[in-house]
């Protein structure tokens, strides 16, 4: 179903939207984004457990609900729309997909049920100081030590890295290069030798941390030296998930801006009656609808399997990145002076659009990746 949702999926979306509207009004977003944690641990746990959100795409064998990426995409789209402040992307997308892609059966059985049950938050630490998204640039090292490993190095841009209960880390065997010698490891966020530093972010609704490992004891996830392929797979899933989150935010911005211009009077008439405003609103609709089509198609492609997935994932991300940011720029402009004020909510999504544009690679990077897949 790459082009439509089932009635059950539509119903699920509607329920979720109502729940998120109650849970995440912008007053609550503003309160939480001003905290260091960036979310309310008890409140999120309860909300998550009631709706079973972090287990949505985790197979039932591992305590989840066994749905696919289309359903996960719906959750993300609605969260992007509601700008929910919670460690969902880090836990359910980043860490969970890495564990599903790389973990042994035994590890999945141990690590995923607490995530599905909403009892444990998690994240994936792969980028380092350069903010790159390529496994090959990883410098953090892992040295065997008895039945465990010792991690040394600094990860940066780690989503919710300052609060995650569990961190999945991409590290390499000392002396290895490129895609060789890479492995995933798991380590508790508060383990000895782990130093976590909250970074000050432009988008306060998305918390990033620098995490330094100094001879920190970690467990191998999956098979040693083979993490490059599951990491690449994880990144494709992550991009598709982010694209779905982004189109939810873009649509919300578009709707709010439209509602505002219909209400705003200047020169004795609604500013929505000026063709210059109407043209912009029509262009915004085109941008958002095209980006939605790409995001939905990509999520269904993940569920159905598709040889073109590396290209489709990058396409969806690049498309959403440009659409979201352009929508945000137009939305501020359509609000006029008030759109530049702190009290108006538009900037909350503007900043989310900006952070989403950059996170996991910008549109230039993904256009190039798409071309590499389609020209080799």
């Amino acid at each position: 179903m790459r082009f439509s949702f089932t009635p059950e999926q539509d119903e699920f979306r509607a329920t979720l939207r109502r729940a998120l509207e109650a849970r995440s009004p912008t007053k609550e977003v503003r309160r939480l984004m001003a905290t260091d944690a960036g979310f309310d641990r008890e409140g999120w746990k309860k909300f998550n457990q009631e709706l079973g959100l972090t287990g949505i795409h985790i197979p039932e064998t591992y305590g989840g609900q066994g749905f696919g990426y289309s359903e996960l995409g719906i959750v993300l789209e609605e969260m992007g729309r509601g700008l929910l402040c919670a460690p969902f992307f880090s836990t359910a997308v980043l860490a969970t997909t890495a564990i599903l892609n790389a973990g042994t059966e035994e590890q999945k059985k141990a690590l995923l049920p607490p995530i599905a049950a909403g009892e444990r938050t998690a994240t994936l630490a792969f980028s380092e100081a350069d903010g790159g998204n390529e496994a090959g640039t990883v410098t953090t090292t892992a040295i065997p030590s008895g039945s465990a490993y010792r991690l040394d190095g600094t990860k940066s841009f780690v989503l919710d890295g300052h609060t995650a209960d569990l961190i999945v880390v991409l590290a390499r065997q000392p002396g290895s290069k490129g895609d060789n010698g890479l492995s995933f490891f798991t380590i508790a966020g508060d383990a000895p030798g782990v130093d976590r530093h909250l970074l000050k972010t432009m988008d306060e609704t998305r918390k990033l941390a620098r995490v330094t490992f100094r001879s920190a004891e970690a467990r191998l996830l999956g098979e040693a030296g083979t993490a490059a392929a599951p990491f690449a797979r994880t990144m494709q899933q992550v991009l598709v998930c982010l694209a779905n989150e982004m189109v939810g935010g873009a649509e919300r911005l578009r709707e709010d801006a439209l509602e505002y211009v219909k209400m705003r009077m200047q020169f004795g008439r609604s500013i929505a009656s000026f063709q210059t405003t109407k043209n912009k609103a029509a262009d915004m609709l085109v941008d958002v609808e095209l980006a939605k089509s790409a995001a939905y198609y990509a999520a269904a492609a993940l569920d159905e399997g598709d040889d073109d997935l590396p290209a489709i994932a990058s396409l969806a991300k690049a498309c959403a990145a440009e659409a979201y940011l352009q929508t945000a720029i137009h939305a501020v402009q359509m609000h006029g002076g008030i759109g530049f004020t702190w009290d108006n909510d538009t900037h909350l999504w503007f900043k989310r659009a900006k952070s989403s544009e950059i996170l996991f690679g910008d549109a230039n990077e993904h256009r190039e990746k798409m071309m590499q897949h389609w020209t080799h």
């Binding site: 109407k278 085109v286 095209l290 089509s293 190039e368 020209t375």
Partner: protein
């Protein structure tokens, strides 16, 4: 009578085709059989050459025609708009006189709506229809008329009353194109083709029974024609090709298609030829240029996401969901795609993009793309009109205050058109 099902329709049409299909028939001879049987237009009324079948069964019927290789009724061109309009608004005289020869393809039609002074503002037509005795006398000029030089009949929108607001004073006629008062001249375009015509009326005559609407209701009837034109625009994009089978009827059909499609042979270039981009980039080595790769990627993202958006709209329609906004965007998006494709073809061809015809890349195809793309954002509703439609109908934004709809048309400022 039992309700038709997919299976019953399939069985019935298959049996009829097996008993009647004969590739040695003449094209018109065969189509007359189709008209008599109702299988040429199964969704039309029983009384007028159809079978009263729901339109959803047309695909089944088409499949059976394709399976046996049977030729269908004439479907290309303005004749389908004429048929739809006549079925909806015409008198029994019109239906009797025109519908059969539309289906057999014996008559060619043209649409006489646009004028030099009224393009986007089609209801501002100033071609006059004056009564003389019981006849109508037509004077004025139409433009952008496809196939006017071949047409037997024209669908004409003309002003019969100047003392009422513009939408209220129009009448809709069927005009005999083969009369001395009608002169047709080709209109040469910036891309050298002349796909359309200008049509001049000097005391052209319309007999009273050829009036389709009441005077004052012409705009309503024109709206029906235009609605079918928008629907048909998608069908036209899928290029009509004849069967490559051997036989008299296939030869005649191929000749018909060649004639009908001749004015449209630059249309693929107008859309930007996205299909040629990768091949050209490889041939020229520009595939390795990182700046050009970015531009190609932008184009592919646009065209893929547009295709998926169109399929979302179709899926929603098939599921019977209310039409979402995704169904109204295709025309505007096709302009963006065409423009970006022209940019990309220019970057790929470099200096060669300066040359056309046999000196130009691909024997002139690339040059034809570059000088044909500007038509995409104008023809069939300009981008500006598309944006107004999207903002007013989909987003429910208010119209600009109107200055021309509440006073007699004779008092509305309008273009001075040189004659």
């Amino acid at each position: 009578m039992t309700e038709p099902t997919e299976e019953s329709v399939r069985n019935e049409v298959r049996a009829w085709l097996e008993a009647n299909w004969n590739p040695d028939d003449g094209l018109v001879e065969w189509r007359n059989k189709l008209v008599d049987s109702g299988w040429g237009a199964p969704h039309w009324p029983m009384q007028w050459h159809g079978r009263d079948l729901p339109v959803k069964f047309n695909t089944i019927v088409d499949e059976e025609f394709a399976r046996i290789g049977a030729v269908g009724v004439a479907k290309a061109g303005i004749r389908t708009l004429a048929a739809a309009t006549i079925l909806a608004h015409g008198t029994d005289f019109h239906k009797e006189k025109f519908l059969r020869r539309i289906l057999t393809g014996e008559d060619t039609w043209c649409q006489l709506f646009s004028e030099p002074g009224s393009g986007s503002d089609m209801a501002g037509a100033v071609t006059r229809a004056d009564r003389q005795g019981n006849k109508w006398v037509i004077n004025g000029q139409k433009v952008w008329t496809t196939s006017a030089h071949k047409a037997h009949w024209g669908l004409l929108l003309a002003r019969a009353n100047w003392d009422v607001p513009k939408h209220k004073g129009l009448a809709y006629f069927i005009l005999d194109m083969k009369q001395p008062g009608v002169q047709v001249h080709p209109l040469k375009q910036m891309n050298y083709h002349a796909s359309f015509n200008q049509v001049f009326f000097t005391d052209a005559i319309v007999e009273p029974e050829f009036l389709v609407s009441d005077v004052g209701d012409g705009w309503t009837v024109a709206t029906t024609t235009l609605m079918h034109e928008r629907r048909g625009a998608d069908a036209l994009r899928s290029w009509a090709v004849g069967s490559d089978r051997k036989g008299r009827i296939y030869d005649e059909e191929r000749a018909e298609i060649a004639t009908t499609m001749e004015p449209y042979r630059w249309y693929p270039q107008r859309a930007g030829r996205v299909d040629l981009v990768m091949e050209r980039a490889r041939e020229t080595g520009k595939i390795n240029d990182p700046v050009i790769r970015q531009e190609i990627a932008r184009l592919l993202i646009m065209s893929k996401s547009a295709e998926w958006t169109a399929r979302r709209a179709r899926a929603a329609q098939e599921q019977g969901k209310p039409q979402g906004p995704e169904g109204s965007l295709g025309k505007l998006v096709s302009s963006h795609i065409a423009r970006q494709a022209a940019r990309v073809h220019t970057y790929i061809s470099g200096a060669d993009a300066l040359l056309s015809g046999e000196d130009g890349p691909m024997g002139g195809v690339i040059a034809e793309i570059l000088i044909s793309v500007p038509a995409t954002s104008i023809a069939g509703g300009t981008d500006e009109i598309q944006r107004n439609i999207i903002s007013e109908r989909v987003l429910k934004m208010p119209k600009e205050p109107s200055v021309d709809t509440s006073k007699p048309f004779k008092d509305v400022p309008r273009n001075i058109v040189a004659s």
